[in-house]
């Protein structure tokens, strides 16, 4: 996984307001460049360093918003970029550019899968691939565990959430609606004006 570069080589030149067509092509370029992975780093490279649509600060602020709000982070980032320049239509065009090629490819993979998944060889290969994918899924939680390691309340909330879902088989929506408000009350800022430390992470 490629990390976001905090200090890329920047020229001061900012080209304002890409057109809808440019937004579409820019996001298409991001999606195709990122075929080997590192979507986030590619979108920074293309939007900030190559096309100069945003400064790096603007890009990182957008990434903060994209991570905060619900939805896939990279798709939210494309929507943020599109909406910053061209409002709703910009957002939809950027989204289409981001998804067109990978989604079409995935659909072809899906058609092949549903046509041929009963072949014994393919089933055996998939058994292995699925085991690897399960390991990737398991790593997602460990990846962000460090952030909360020193906060006993966070670990308590995380444990309660895990037990509710994995042991008590609660569905996601009730879990979020019950534990979410409790967590928000606990973390309600005592000094509302103070900036959060993770603002520019």
């Amino acid at each position: 996984m490629t990390e976001i570069n905090p200090n890329p080589n920047l020229s001061a030149r900012i080209v304002p307001n890409p057109t809808l067509r440019q937004l579409f092509l820019g996001m298409l370029q991001v999606a195709i460049s990122a075929f080997g992975g590192g979507l986030s780093a590619w979108s920074q490279r293309i939007v900030v360093e190559q096309r100069h649509w945003m400064t790096n600060e603007q890009f990182l602020a957008g990434l903060t918003v994209a991570r905060l709000f619900p939805g896939p982070n990279q798709i939210n980032m494309a929507v943020y970029i599109g909406a910053s320049f061209r409002g709703l239509s910009g957002a939809l065009v950027a989204l289409a550019g981001m998804l067109l090629v990978p989604f079409t490819l995935l659909m072809m993979v899906g058609l092949l899968y549903f046509s041929f998944h009963e072949l014994p060889l393919l089933d055996r290969i998939l058994a292995g691939v699925v085991a690897a994918a399960a390991g990737m899924a398991l790593s997602m939680g460990f990846r962000i565990l460090d952030t909360y390691w020193r906060d006993p309340m966070a670990l308590l909330l995380a444990t309660a959430t895990f037990l509710a879902m994995a042991v008590a088989h609660w569905r996601l929506v009730p879990v979020v609606l019950v534990i979410g408000p409790l967590a928000m009350a606990w973390y309600w800022p005592r000094h509302p004006a103070s900036p959060t430390p993770e603002e520019h992470s």
Binding site: A66, V79, I125, T159, V173, M184
Partner: protein, 213 residues
Amino acid sequence: MIAANGFQALFPLFAAVVPAESVCEPMRLNDLGNLLQVISTFLGLSLFALGGGNTLITEYHHISVDQYCWLTPTQFADLYALAEAAPGPSSMLVGLLGMGAAWREGPFWALVSAYGAELAILLPSTLLMVVACLRWNKMRNSPWRIAFERGLGPITLGILFAVGYKILVLADKNPVALAISLVVCVLMLRSRLSPLWFMAIAGLLGGLGMVSR
């Protein structure tokens, strides 16, 4: 088969959670009422996609395997792996679920359903994101935003562990598969190798017949 049963006897927790292969009648999507119900399910879930969307995976499993019986548990695990392996955001899994939902009606309807499901899961979060982008300066110092960001982080952590556990239970029916998963998990955290390598090597092991299920 004996090895698998022995494995489940050793880990009764696993056996208890593994759902039986579903026998319920798959819901048909050529009924307009059913289609609208499915679309509204995905529309309603969109705004619960905390922490980048992977938090919805247990919910996707519930909908497509337990509730509507579009997929067997094995197919769900396969599609999850394909979405992870394919280039692009892994949340495109929803498109594959939509495809599975309508596969019995033929490839054309499968594609229509795939695009419909993906649009339904993305539309609400996209609209919210547009509003967020345009009004961010007013929102950023609101106590609601700060409490939301700090409070929902630990919940996301708990959900991601529940998702990892769920996929593990779905995928690993024998000790070899479990060992592969644990090794991949450690390598994901400790190395910078592309996950595609892990999937390719595990796929090779599977192709050689070393990972039965």
